[in-house]
């Protein structure tokens, strides 16, 4: 079977690989690179569990082809924390109880990173609008909303 060569930066590291043309970015990250933090659920781009950043834009890795990631920067949930220290968004999720089963959590964390890069001081309505493409089946969303607002405050504080 034919393959495509891709040359990418994943969480700051250069990665060059041969991939099948039909391989999704989620499969590439999970199966080829062992970055299993990115989760796959609906496979239809509606649940947001597989959200990663490509050149700082949030995309659904379940429907994005690995081949299209050539010469792009990919950030996954594994790329946020600095060593043992949680990223402020991650700390806000833990401390606001915005996690239950955790399967949606990496997607929400990445979506929050994208939101706060665009809009460092979102209102609750803006958060809900931005996050409407991420499903959480456990929490009822309120703790996630609190975590995002808290993370925004933490990040503003560090600047």
């Amino acid at each position: 079977m034919s393959t495509v060569t891709i040359d990418t930066f994943v969480n700051g590291q250069r990665v060059t690989r041969q991939v099948a043309p039909r391989m999704t970015l989620a499969e590439f990250l999970r199966d080829d690179l062992g970055l299993t933090g990115t989760k796959v659920s609906c496979e239809m781009q509606v649940c947001g569990a597989c959200t990663v950043l490509i050149d700082d834009m949030p995309v659904s890795a379940c429907t994005y082809l690995a081949a299209d990631a050539d010469s792009r920067r990919i950030t996954t949930v594994e790329g946020l924390a600095h060593g043992d220290e949680l990223h402020p968004i991650q700390a806000a999720f833990v401390e606001n109880f915005a996690i239950q089963c955790g399967f949606c959590t990496p997607g929400f964390v990445m979506m929050t990173a994208a939101l706060l890069a665009e809009n460092p001081a979102p209102t609750a309505e803006e958060v809900a609008e931005y996050m409407d493409g991420n499903i959480c089946r456990c929490t009822g969303y309120k703790p996630i909303l609190s975590a995002v607002l808290d993370a925004a405050e933490r990040l503003r504080g560090t600047e």
């Binding site: 933090g37 990115t38 239809m44 833990v94 996690i99 809900a128 089946r137 703790p143």
Partner: protein, 764 residues
């Protein structure tokens, strides 16, 4: 209260792993040499299998095997913990569209999926029944022409004697008093019938399992909520002793009951058996929906009241569409039969429930277990009665709710909650005044579930040579926070800091027996087992201390992680070292919870659902917005209040999804919406505008520190609360769910005798 101990909202111990992506779920685990299975599903709802042509698929690249029902010779080819009616792969007949017919096993998931298209199945169609009414009609085709040997006797309450020669999978009856006499005496008799749709739990991690055989031992890693129950099914399939089947459940990406009992594990296991290699079977969401759903129901209710509103009699007739195989449907039905009438003083009661086989996806457990269906019927009937009697609906409930200690079901545990006080919290938070406001409505409802399942849990606590502690339990972590709550209990009992405690869960070969992780039982029952295991470990420590120091055991006391006697004080690590000599060895405590003592009487506890909502209804569009949600978590004692709030809000939100959006739809022989685009679940923008979450702690439960379970309660009655709120906003009583804009708009139009065809509506 000491920080980190029971009673404080410590952060989840699995939180850090879950936000960094380090957390491992079954789907993240790889086994060397692992092959991948792809399920070939039936394209008929009911048919004989004439032949299956696998040659072409076998010739495809990477394909190792194509397993069909014909290959299961020598195995027990079915599973099912109550009724063993469920073939691993269709044996000579398919009974629903989407049933597994073959499993293609190949090197990669792609190769397996590609080759699956080349498996040719030849069918001979049989008549199809999709609804219970069709399945019960004269001349309906029988889905199961034999009765099957039943599962274990511990499921006796849900065992059926009616399987043969009828499509009734299970019938359950609960009766006392004289219902006809009660209804004759009644000043008012209120009749109503409701339709409850099919639901899908949508746990975000779809079903998956890896199976392998190693030295005669079958090893399975899966998404099972109840690994011990899965172990028992697998042992029967392969005629293996229980010690030769090892089932492990790592962190689970959502369960909500949908991952209880056996699902894809037998498929992976027979593939591993057929190929001699480890095999993963990982379903997608569509495959998961074609594995399990929740029962739809039609429920007819008659209730009789005296002129003051006292209930004289209630009668329920419940019809469940349970699908092609029984799975846990019989138990869900039995639970519905016990939960539908509510925690009221009812002198005369008759409930008949029937779960009917149809050519649809098998239904099984889903959060609430029959309570959501039953409460929707029972509570809306009560609200309609309040209207007719001219009694405030809150007052009608207060009149009839059982008081603390009072039994609402004979020979069951008395009520371990103050329901009137709980109801008063809801009505006061909602600002309930029984006055109609156009376009706005308040509704509230309550339920009590016989929760906790069967009281059987065991736990092991190991105090290691460095003073750190391992807690071993067969209870799974699926998001509810058991890993955290059980660690808090152990830290409290042993008097050690939380970070010294590790909780290891759900491995049938190494963690002690746990019957199930469901029915909101873990904190109460597994928590008790952990508490007893800690107590056992501490008494062993005290014995050792007495032995080492030469004092009498009565002189030894343990507090805050220190074992002290007349002239000594040992930390745990010092004492273990003293006893074994050097930094080695460990002290092991074991805790057992069984049906005895405080737990003799069933259920172990009543799980209370007490919720209310205020809604706004747009009369032009029928759109329902939840303005205010009130939940009361009557949990006895909150080991971790933030986790309890999380359970209450999560359950209520799933319930709001069921009330407002969710339903699986059959149009003809197949589901038309088996995906998350067309099966709409709540999203962030659907959040109630205001949420009041109240935790009530009266320490009236049998669990540690007076705790009792939560996690289902706030879902159970919520559809009834929403329906009542919509009725009070619109003047029309809904008799079905979900209350989508279209449904509510149709209700309003029909009530006002307006045309409901959009083309005929003028620009008003």
């Amino acid at each position: 209260m000491i920080p980190q101990r029971a009673g404080s909202s410590v952060y989840r111990v699995d939180g850090k792993d879950k936000v960094t992506g380090a957390a491992r779920y079954a789907i993240d685990i790889k086994v060397p040499g692992m092959l991948h299975g792809h399920v070939v599903r039936s394209t008929r709802a009911h048919a004989k299998i004439v032949s299956i042509d696998v040659e072409e698929a076998l010739s495809r690249p990477g394909v190792a095997a194509v397993v069909t029902g014909n290959d299961l010779t020598g195995l027990f080819p079915r599973f099912g913990h109550i009724i063993a009616d469920h073939p691993i792969l269709a044996l000579d007949r398919v009974r629903y569209y989407g049933e597994p017919v073959a499993l293609v096993v190949a090197r990669t998931p792609y190769e397996a999926a590609d080759a699956a298209d080349d498996v040719r199945v030849h069918y001979e169609d049989l008549p199809v029944v999709i609804t219970p009414e069709e399945a019960l009609a004269d001349g309906a085709p029988l889905l199961h022409e034999t009765s099957y040997d039943s599962g274990d006797r511990s499921f006796a309450e849900a065992r059926s004697e009616v399987g043969a020669r009828t499509n009734v999978a299970h019938m359950a009856v609960l009766e006392w008093g004289d219902v006809e006499a009660g209804l004759r005496e009644a000043a008012v008799v209120v009749e109503s019938t409701v339709q409850f749709p099919m639901h899908y739990a949508y746990a975000m991690e779809p079903y998956n399992a890896i199976a392998s055989f190693d030295n005669g031992m079958l090893e399975v890693i899966s998404t099972a909520q109840h690994p011990f129950q899965v172990r028992d099914d697998l042992a029967r399939i392969f005629s293996l002793p229980l010690n030769s089947v090892r089932v492990r459940s790592p962190l689970i990406g959502g369960g909500y009951g949908s991952k209880s009992y056996t699902k894809v594990e037998p498929l992976a296991a027979v593939a591993a058996w057929a190929t001699g290699r480890p095999v993963r079977v990982a379903l997608d969401v569509e495959g998961s929906i074609h594995t399990t759903r929740a029962d739809s129901a039609t429920i007819h209710v008659r209730s009789g009241f005296d002129a003051d509103g006292r209930i004289l009699a209630r009668e329920f007739d419940i019809l469940f569409n349970t699908g092609a195989y029984a799975d846990n449907g019989p138990l869900v039905l039995t639970k519905c039969v016990h939960r539908c009438f509510g925690p009221y003083r009812i002198p005369n009661l008759r409930v008949r429930g029937r779960a009917v086989y149809t050519n649809t996806v098998p239904s099984s457990s889903y959060r609430g277990f029959g309570a959501p269906q039953g409460s929707f019927a029972g509570e809306t009937n009560l609200d309609r009665a309040a209207d007719i009697l001219g009694i405030d609906p809150a007052q009608l409930r207060r009149i009839n709710l059982v008081r603390p200690g009072e039994k609402h079901i004979p020979k069951r545990r008395g009520m371990d909650a103050d329901l009137v006080a709980d109801l008063d919290i809801v009505t006061s938070k909602l600002g309930w005044r029984n006055k109609p406001t156009a376009g706005r409505g308040i509704g509230f409802a309550c339920s009590a579930s016989d929760a906790g399942a069967f009281p059987l849990s065991t736990a092991t606590v190991r105090i290691l040579a460095d003073g750190s502690v391992l807690v071993l339990t067969g209870s799974t972590e699926m998001g509810q926070g058991s890993k955290t709550a059980l660690a808090q209990i152990a830290a409290t009992e042993l008097g050690v800091p939380l970070e010294k405690v590790q909780v290891v869960q759900s491995d049938t070969a190494t963690t002690p027996y746990e019957r199930t992780t469901g029915a909101s039982r873990t904190t109460t029952l597994t928590g008790l087992a952990v508490q007893r295991a800690c107590c056992d470990a501490l008494s062993k420590m005290e014995e050792i201390a007495a032995d080492v120091s030469g004092c009498r055991i009565e002189e030894v006391k343990t507090a805050e992680g220190v074992v002290a006697g007349p002239d000594f004080e040992y930390r745990f690590d010092q004492l273990v070292a003293e006893w074994f000599g050097g930094r080695q060895g460990e002290i092991v405590g074991h805790g057992v919870v069984r049906r005895a003592g405080d737990l003799e009487e069933l259920p172990p506890f009543w799980e209370i659902g007490m919720v209310g909502v205020e809604v706004a209804v747009d009369e032009e569009t029928g759109l329902v917005n939840v303005e205010h949600l009130v939940t009361v978590g009557d949990v006895g004692y909150a080991i971790n209040p933030s986790l309890v709030e999380g359970q209450d809000l999560g359950a209520a939100t799933q319930g709001l999804g069921g009330a407002l959006f969710e339903q699986l739809i059959y149009d003809g022989p197949q589901l038309v919406n088996p995906n998350v685009v067309d099966y709409r679940v709540p999203r962030m923008k659907d959040m109630p505008r205001r949420i009041s979450s109240v935790i009530v702690e009266r320490q009236d439960g049998v669990g540690p520190y007076g705790a009792k379970g939560g996690g289902e309660g706030s879902l159970n009655p919520i559809a009834a609360a929403v329906a009542a709120a919509v009725a009070r906003a619109t003047g029309v009583w809904p008799d079905r769910l979900p209350l989508t804009a279209e449904t509510v708009w149709g209700l309003i139009r029909a009530d006002r005798q307006l045309p409901s065809d959009t083309n005929e509506v003028d620009d008003a």
